[in-house]
């Protein structure tokens, strides 16, 4: 019975979300007819691929009830590392492997520091992010890296198409499919959720909670590397500020998705990041200056978290109850 109720509630939320996407899309299309053009939709798909990968990484960390603020720093350092490997004349797969390896090591360091040694997550990841942002300058002292970028074929990740869709979108869908399967259909995924719900209870249920927390940070760093790889593919060079715009959309996507779809999950993040990317691209198409974009995302994030918070729901329920009571009373009088 309750399973059925749950399903009904979930599908109602899903329908509500689709209605919201249609509403936002319609409003943007009305305000700027070019929004629905092929070029614009392609742009949304590409930006969604990069934003979505970073947000997926953050999802793992948020599921174990932690935060990661090193995303921008990790993105900057791994971007420059991959750029340096490409510039040295190595093939693309080697550059990607090097980037992923560096990312994994950084994630392992933060993850172990937080889970094994009990350091506070927020400040630790800020410190690690700062060190990484500094390390990004090691290769060139801050100059852009572009040598060999066109010969090595990295731009194909951005330009090539497969069955009518961009390669970057396929990468996004493939990574999300694997993540969805692991997080929502296997014991491993259950262990992540159990660790987040109640670490002590999960520990006594035989789950190696520390390992899962560390693993969440490793996954987050690896996803960040993939996200920044797509950004490098789009721009055709590596710069130290390449990851600066990944963090806010990732947070907004994860928390907005969770607020609308009723809990942090892989699909909720995908939905959240779709909305955020539509809004961002729509605004930039309408010629809204760049400096408003962070403010708009922040407002949406704040409004979403506030509207769907337990406290707000409590107020709303109280309001409804009071109104029902009044109606009942006036009904009784009449």
């Amino acid at each position: 019975m309750s399973g059925l109720q749950d399903m009904a509630r979930q599908s109602a939320r899903g329908l509500g979300f689709l209605a919201l996407v249609a509403l936002v899309g319609g409003a943007l299309a009305l305000a700027e007819p070019r929004f629905l053009s092929a070029a614009s939709l392609n742009g949304i798909a590409r930006h969604m691929a990069a934003n979505g990968l970073a947000a997926l990484g953050l999802t793992f960390v948020v599921i174990v009830r932690k935060f990661d603020l090193s995303i921008s720093g990790v993105a900057a350092f791994t971007a420059m590392s991959m750029g340096a490997v490409i510039a040295a004349g190595a093939p693309l797969w080697l550059a990607v492997a090097a980037g992923i390896a560096i990312g994994a090591v950084i994630g392992l360091i933060s993850g172990t520091a937080i889970s094994r040694f009990g350091l506070p997550d927020i400040v630790t990841t800020i410190a690690v992010g700062s060190i990484c942002a500094g390390l990004a300058f090691l290769y060139t002292g801050g100059r852009s890296i572009f040598q060999n970028f066109f010969q090595v074929g990295i731009t194909d990740l951005n330009d090539a198409r497969l069955l009518g869709l961009g390669v970057s979108l396929w990468i996004l869908l493939a990574v999300y499919a694997v993540a969805w399967f692991v997080m929502h259909r296997t014991r491993t995924g259950m262990a992540f959720y159990a660790t987040g719900e109640n670490q002590v209870a999960a520990h006594f249920s035989g789950i190696a909670t520390r390992r899962y927390i560390a693993l969440a940070y490793v996954m987050c760093a690896i996803c960040t590397v993939l996200a920044v790889l797509l950004i490098l593919a789009e721009s055709g060079n590596a710069e130290t500020n390449k990851g600066a715009n990944l963090m806010m959309p990732a947070y907004a996507g994860v928390f907005l998705g969770a607020a609308i779809l009723g809990g942090t999950s892989v699909l909720a993040t995908l939905g959240g990041i779709l909305l955020i990317t539509m809004l961002l691209d729509g605004f930039s198409l309408m010629g809204v200056p760049y400096y408003y974009s962070d403010g708009v995302i922040s407002l949406i994030l704040l409004a979403g978290v506030l509207a769907f918070s337990d406290t707000a729901r409590g107020y709303l329920a109280g309001l409804v109850a009071v109104r029902a009571l009044r109606r009942a009373r006036s009904g009784g009088k009449a």
């Binding site: 350091l119 060190i131 500094g134 002292g141 947070y251 200056p289 974009s293 403010g295 994030l301």
Partner: protein, 327 residues
């Protein structure tokens, strides 16, 4: 307890309390022996000026972190006040009007943060990340993405001039007085006890009747006001409104507060620790610049300092807890 034992313990306490001061003196001596310019009056003025601004920036943050919360919006609040001040001047509001507007912005953001965290019970990180983005965006929008210059020096200009033989800017005095008052509140008043109690167990002190909601609100408002005051001083100091000024202060501020939390009350951020750590970082950066280290190396050093501060604080807290458990 015999006397010798207590003497040893007092010495141990003194070293845990004041080791950062010793490190500061040693580091200053080491850098000055390599680069005597460190102690030139001109350089001392510069160090003390940035010290005053930094202390102003993180005075409120110290208590927010001591209470077990986090505020990552303080640096963008400063940027917003800084820009609002400069923009107000360009609109002809006069200096006092512009300063008032800057402080009001800090008050408003502090109230918003406090309301969302204390009353609506949203996670402090998500709230302050969003308000930080909002403030940064507004700050940039005020100047349409560029710097706003300030033509005439304002009433704070004389505070920034070097006095006392040309080595001390007057601004140090009011800032130190404010920090002294905060130290008194933290050490001698009940409110100070409540702040640290909040970090230990918020539910418990709520149920014994401590007004946790009001206190949380107050802490965020204080943090916002301190940061906006720093932003206003920066407007005077730089004779301009700089929309991007916030960025580097985040890591600086957190480093200072957490490094300071390693002295006096080990593992707990406190005002005296913040003051010492701010001076420490100021001298370190000034020395690093004199020694010719590029910016990014300073950033790496700072991140490493912050990490090591965290490790020591965590170990100290664990050691403390075990000893308490043991007897």
């Amino acid at each position: 307890m015999d006397r010798r034992h207590s003497k040893g313990r007092r010495l141990a306490r003194l070293t845990t309390n004041l080791w950062l001061v010793a490190a500061l003196v040693l580091m200053t001596a080491a850098i000055a022996s390599q680069k005597p310019q460190l102690l030139d009056p001109g350089n001392v003025v510069a160090v003390l000026k940035s010290f005053s601004i930094m202390v102003m920036m993180v005075l409120g943050l110290t208590w927010v972190i001591a209470a077990g919360k986090i505020d990552v919006s303080f640096m963008q609040v400063a940027a917003l006040s800084n820009m609002l001040c400069a923009w107000g001047l360009s609109q002809g509001w006069g200096w006092w009007g512009a300063i008032g507007a800057g402080l009001c912005a800090g008050l408003a953001v502090g109230l918003l943060n406090g309301w969302l965290v204390a009353v609506m019970r949203l996670p402090a990180l998500i709230v302050t990340i969003s308000t930080a983005g909002l403030c940064a965006s507004l700050a940039a929008a005020l100047g349409k993405g560029t710097v706003i210059r300030i033509a005439a020096p304002g009433p704070l200009a004389s505070l920034l001039e070097p006095q006392f033989g040309g080595a001390v800017p007057l601004i140090v005095l009011p800032v130190l007085a404010l920090a002294g008052a905060a130290w008194f509140v933290q050490e001698r008043l009940t409110m100070g006890r409540y702040i640290y109690a909040m970090a230990q167990n918020e539910a418990a002190i709520r149920s014994v009747g401590v007004p946790v909601v009001g206190l949380t609100l107050l802490l965020f408002v204080f943090s916002g006001l301190c940061a906006s005051l720093a932003g206003v001083i920066l407007a005077e100091n730089l004779a301009s409104g700089q929309p991007m000024i916030g960025g580097p202060y985040l890591i600086n501020g957190l480093t200072v507060v957490l490094l300071g939390g390693m002295m006096v009350h080990v593992g707990k951020p406190n005002i005296l620790g913040t003051l010492t750590a701010t001076l420490f970082i100021g001298v370190l950066f000034s020395g690093a610049a004199l020694l010719g280290l590029p910016d990014y190396q300073r950033q790496i050093i700072q991140g490493a300092l912050l990490l090591s501060g965290l490790v020591v604080a965590t170990l100290a807290a664990r050691h403390h807890g075990e000893r308490r458990k043991g007897g």
